[in-house]
């Protein structure tokens, strides 16, 4: 819609965090791709894909740098500092493949364990096809977590009851925001009434466009997208 030159609307200011009311309660989206459930004081991240870099080295033969694991850990650490949660949940695909643990460096393992020790509870959520959590890594392992009416899983799963909302990972949603200047895509949360799909957190993870059936089919009814622009979270109707 074209506006006349003089009638330029004042844009709402951009926020680094956005709180969103779902039928299960409040959820806070942080521009650093983590989410927070204030009622259970739980910090959520999804699809960390540790050791993806070394996997592509080993299997793909590509001389990639393997800074992804320490970088993902550093960013997770910042989020923990910011929110000081009682509980951290990693919603699946935390490790890229079964042998990730063997390739991981001893330093990274120590850092990971120290991170886990900083919070009262740390849960690695596993999906059906998720590689195992490596030996020697602290934290508990579950296939889902209930936080009030929120159902936290890796794969999209139907929530229970009229007020249930499933928060899951696995699909790495991203959305194109077309402005007059360009149309870059941004990682985002993709939400419907009963489900919120998390953006992928891992440093070397790419994304899938929200219009793809794999995502669109999991979000029946009205949708909203919450895009991270690198500085802020912006809400869009979908």
């Amino acid at each position: 819609m074209r506006t006349a030159p003089s009638a330029r609307p004042t844009p709402p200011s951009l926020k680094p965090q956005l709180e969103f009311q779902t039928r299960a309660g409040a959820i806070v989206f942080d521009y650093r791709k983590g989410a927070f459930l204030p009622e259970c004081e739980t910090l959520l991240v999804a699809d960390l894909h540790f050791e993806k870099g070394s996997y592509l080295q080993a299997i793909g033969g590509a001389p990639l740098p393997t800074y992804d694991t320490p970088d993902t850990l550093a960013r997770l650490s910042s989020l923990i500092d910011a929110f000081r949660p009682r509980h951290v949940a990693a919603l699946g695909d935390s490790f890229h493949d079964i042998h990730a643990g063997e390739r991981m460096s001893g330093d990274d393992l120590s850092v990971m364990n120290a991170l886990v020790a900083r919070v009262p509870r740390f849960t690695w959520i596993l999906g059906n096809h998720d590689p195992d959590i490596p030996d020697g890594l602290a934290g508990d392992q579950e296939d889902h977590i209930d936080c009030g009416d929120f159902l936290l899983t890796h794969l999209p799963t139907p929530p229970f009851g009229e007020a249930g909302v499933n928060v899951c990972g696995h699909l790495h949603p991203k959305v194109r925001i077309k402005t007059r200047g360009s149309a870059p895509s941004h990682p985002c949360w993709a939400a419907s009434r009963e489900r919120i799909i998390m953006p992928s957190f891992g440093t070397f993870t790419g994304g899938l466009d929200v219009r793809h059936p794999a995502i669109a089919d999991e979000l029946p009814g009205p949708r909203a997208y919450f895009a991270t622009t690198g500085k802020a979270v912006v809400a869009l109707a979908g």
Binding site: R23, P63, T179
Partner: protein, 844 residues
């Protein structure tokens, strides 16, 4: 070894001389000289105008030497011919077969390119032909095999054709390294380079010769300069854009008046568009074809054969047809769009009428007033005998990675001899040991400060030197040889009807374009309109849809930079009304309007205009200084504007001007433009810009960090790669001195920006800048405004515009169904240019 007494003394055997006479040709002096050079084992650069028998001169010594070959001798490679284009090698083969066939010479000829079938490759390995015609990439591949030393041991001669067209880029660096390797394997062979006329031929001779000893130079003067005119169209020239639609009928009339016409355009999309438009007016039913690099091989070869046999009345083509030897009846060349360079224009004109004593003929079709001026200046430059200079810089280092891995595939590689061999290639003569070590380190295992727990290796160290670490690594390398990096492509399969299972592959199309198609959409391809059905087995399936109005596939392609000579020539004309009488009336009117409405750019000064256009404020900086200067200025100015809260959105460059759009108006140039702008931290701005990430993507592909996806290739887990932007970001954060980042920075500064020239320019115009605030766009600004291809600015404007796209209220009350119009747009709308070409969104 040569047994022929004639060639040993440098003269041409009688049988070959007779054959020449039989064709109605005279053997020229310089062609005889080439035979003498071969006998004396002197590397030679032959510079001759197109159509002068240059290529034949390159082959003559080999034909002479092989004429007396002992037919019972074991097959061995005698001559290697390297050309930049596959089409050219086919051409050459056809033409070489004539004397060989006519004279019944015992010479075998083979072609080895990406198009060569596996069984032919196998045969060439076991029974090498006497003469092998190949491309730089195929040569590198041959050098990667362990049998390379034996295969090339008997090499007597290497001929590099159309040398001028690739020696100054990465492909030239790549070729230089391959040649250096050949020299080691066959120290006694002779190098012949064949080149069109260029400025500064000594640099080219230095490139060709072994380091420290430039090749000998033979220059053949052209006789008649070509006859070049600008079209006089029935309709008016458009004021901006690049569409030749206004002149379609005029071009058709030219085709009707000649035997065979080649119509050159600058992009593949333009070729498809113009072809469609031409058929709309083709009342005479002439055989008109289309030709470009994304068409299937069979299609291309068929078109080439039809042209050679005179059955094609006209071909609309990209630069893919630019080079070649004698082609029968081409008697007119049409160049659509600005030529960008004098030498390039002459190259294309040379495709017609290669009788060296008759003038070639060409008509230029500029598509906007500035292009008219550019054409005028180019015509004058041709009359003055001007040639474009070539800029030879140090060799690119990402290419060295490929060379090292290539060597290691064939056998153990020792550091010292590798460095010596690299330095024997002229672009790399000054490569430092430190750089070599860094590049080798990268080739071995990525060279990262952070080592993986399980050490990854591409090359492994043995007692005899470095070898390739595994066969899968060797395979991966061989599949990705080359320096041409393109976006992922998909094959296009043309099926007769929607339910058909069988169809013909007609070419390839970029994946980005396909992602924006919906089933039922139509697009132009290979001269037809096709309706997109879907993707099956990694190919796009489409049925013919003759009556639909098609979208035009866009291909990413580099824009040819304008030579500074032409740029300053254009400015000289534009700034001086006295010179306007050379121009078509419409163009001089346009310039008059400009002088009345705004101002003319000064001969030495700078004109800057500011106005509101549609949705945004526009700043138009008319520098006439070329793309690189405008690019650098674009970064610096938008950085300043950002700091001054003017919220710049994006900028676009042409060779003549810089266009910046912003949310806030620019009311004065104070604090914006001045020499002190160069003190700003340009480097910091560049390393975070989308531009350097695009460079990095190419470098990463050439250095083997990621793989090119070949059309139709299944995406397996192994090949899943992600945006190189993610790798770039991580390297910048954790290892900013990594060799690949260094290469990207240097490339950005050297190839995309020209800081020194900008500095000189800003000094010159310091007190000679005219700033005009206008109610709307000026005549001079329209060509710049209609240029597509924007450099996004990451800043406040982007954040503000994103925020403007809307926010959700009372979502969970079900009111989330009320959608904001602006947001709905982004799913459906596409950017199109004036020809309906669909532009894929910028893959930033």
């Amino acid at each position: 070894m040569t047994a022929n007494p004639d060639i040993a003394s440098g003269s041409v055997p009688a049988c070959i001389e007779d054959w020449f006479h039989a064709q109605g040709w005279t053997l020229r002096d310089y062609q005889r000289d080439m035979a003498k050079q071969f006998a004396a084992r002197r590397d030679t650069l032959l510079i001759a105008p197109t159509g002068g028998g240059k290529t034949l001169a390159g082959f003559l010594p080999s034909l002479c030497d092989l004429a007396d070959k002992d037919p019972s001798a074991a097959p061995a490679l005698h001559t290697l011919y390297i050309s930049p284009l596959r089409a050219l090698t086919n051409d050459i083969e056809r033409n070489l077969m004539r004397p060989v066939g006519d004279l019944d010479l015992p010479i075998t000829i083979g072609v080895r390119t990406g198009d060569t079938k596996p069984y032919q490759r196998k045969k060439q390995q076991t029974k090498p032909p006497d003469i092998l015609l190949t491309t730089p990439e195929s040569l590198m591949l041959l050098l990667s095999y362990p049998n390379a030393p034996d295969y090339f041991a008997a090499l007597q001669c290497v001929v590099i054709d159309e040398m001028h067209s690739f020696t100054t880029g990465k492909r030239g660096d790549f070729t230089a390294l391959a040649l250096a390797r050949l020299k080691t394997l066959a120290p006694h062979h002779v190098r012949f380079g064949l080149s069109a006329t260029i400025a500064g031929p000594d640099k080219a001779a230095a490139w060709l010769g072994p380091t420290g000893a430039p090749a000998d130079l033979i220059e053949v003067a052209g006789d008649t300069p070509p006859h070049v005119t600008i079209i006089e169209p029935e309709a008016r020239f458009p004021l901006g854009g690049h569409s030749p639609r206004f002149a379609v009928r005029d071009i058709y009339n030219i085709i009707a008046e000649h035997r065979t016409t080649i119509v050159f355009v600058n992009t593949r999309a333009q070729a498809e568009v113009l072809f469609q438009q031409m058929w709309d007016v083709n009342e005479g039913g002439y055989a008109i074809g289309v030709y470009h690099g994304s068409l299937a091989r069979e299609r291309r070869q068929k078109t080439e054969a039809l042209i050679a046999s005179g059955q094609m009345r006209a071909v609309i083509s990209t630069s893919a047809l630019e080079m070649g030897i004698d082609w029968g009846d081409v008697d007119a060349i049409v160049q659509v769009g600005a030529p960008k360079g004098v030498s390039r224009l002459l190259q294309r004109i040379g495709r017609s009428n290669h009788r060296i004593d008759e003038a070639s003929k060409a008509v230029l079709v500029p598509t906007n007033p500035l292009e008219v001026v550019e054409c005028e200046v180019a015509i004058q430059a041709i009359r003055d005998g001007h040639r474009d200079g070539a800029e030879y810089g140090p060799g690119a280092m990402d290419v060295v990675v490929q060379y090292l891995v290539n060597r290691a595939c064939g056998g153990p590689l020792k550091k010292r001899e590798a460095l010596a061999e690299i330095r024997s290639a002229w672009p790399y003569r000054e490569m430092t040991k430190a750089d070599f070590d860094a590049i080798l380190s990268f080739a071995v295992d990525g060279g990262y400060a952070l080592k993986s727990y399980e050490r990854f290796r591409r090359l492994k160290s043995t007692s005899r030197g470095f070898t390739i670490a595994s066969q899968p690594q060797a395979r991966r390398h061989r599949m990705n040889i080359g320096t041409i990096v393109e976006y992922a492509k998909l094959k296009v399969r043309r099926i007769p009807s929607p339910k058909s299972k069988r169809g013909r592959v007609v070419g390839e199309i970029e994946e980005r374009f396909v992602m924006n198609l919906n089933p039922g959409d139509t697009f132009a391809f290979a001269g037809e309109t096709l309706r997109y059905q879907g993707i099956r087995e990694m190919a796009v399936e489409a049925v013919p849809a003759p009556r639909a109005r098609p979208k035009i596939p866009a291909y990413a392609g580099g824009m040819m930079p304008l030579s500074s000579y032409l740029a300053s020539g254009v400015r000289a004309v534009v700034s001086d009304p006295i010179l306007w009488d050379r121009l078509p009336v419409q163009v001089s009117h346009w310039l008059t309007l400009q002088s009345l409405f705004s101002d003319l750019p000064g001969r030495d000064g700078l004109l800057v205009e500011s106005f509101f256009d549609r949705n945004d404020h526009v700043l138009l900086v008319h520098t006439f200084e070329g793309r690189k200067v405008n690019n650098a200025l674009g970064f610096l100015l938008t950085k300043r504007m950002e700091a001054l809260r003017l919220a710049p959105i994006n900028f676009t460059i042409t060779d003549y001007a810089l266009t910046i759009t912003s949310l806030e108006p620019v009311n004065s140039l104070d604090g914006l433009l001045g020499r002190d702008i160069l003190g700003d931290d340009l480097n910091n701005w560049i390393i975070n810009s989308p531009m350097i990430k695009r460079s990095f993507r190419k470098i990463a592909t050439i250095a083997g960090l990621t793989e090119q996806r070949l059309p139709g290739q299944q995406r397996t887990m192994k090949q899943v790669t992600f945006s190189t932007d993610l790798i770039y970001d991580v390297l910048l954060k954790y290892e900013p001195d990594h060799i690949l980042l260094r290469i990207a920075r240097e490339e950005a500064e050297k190839d995309l920006l020209d800081i020194d020239r900008l500095r000189g320019f800003l000094t010159e115009v310091e007190h000679k800048t005219v700033f005009r605030t206008l109610p709307h766009a000026s005549p001079l600004s329209i060509p710049a405004m209609m240029q597509i291809g924007r450099e996004r600015v990451r800043g406040e404007a982007e954040q503000r515009m994103i925020a403007q796209t809307g926010h959700v209220q009372d979502y969970m009350n079900g009111i989330g169904d009320s959608l904001l119009e602006q947001v709905r747009d982004y799913v459906d709308r596409r950017e199109t240019d004036e020809d309906g070409a669909v532009r894929a969104p910028d893959p930033a």
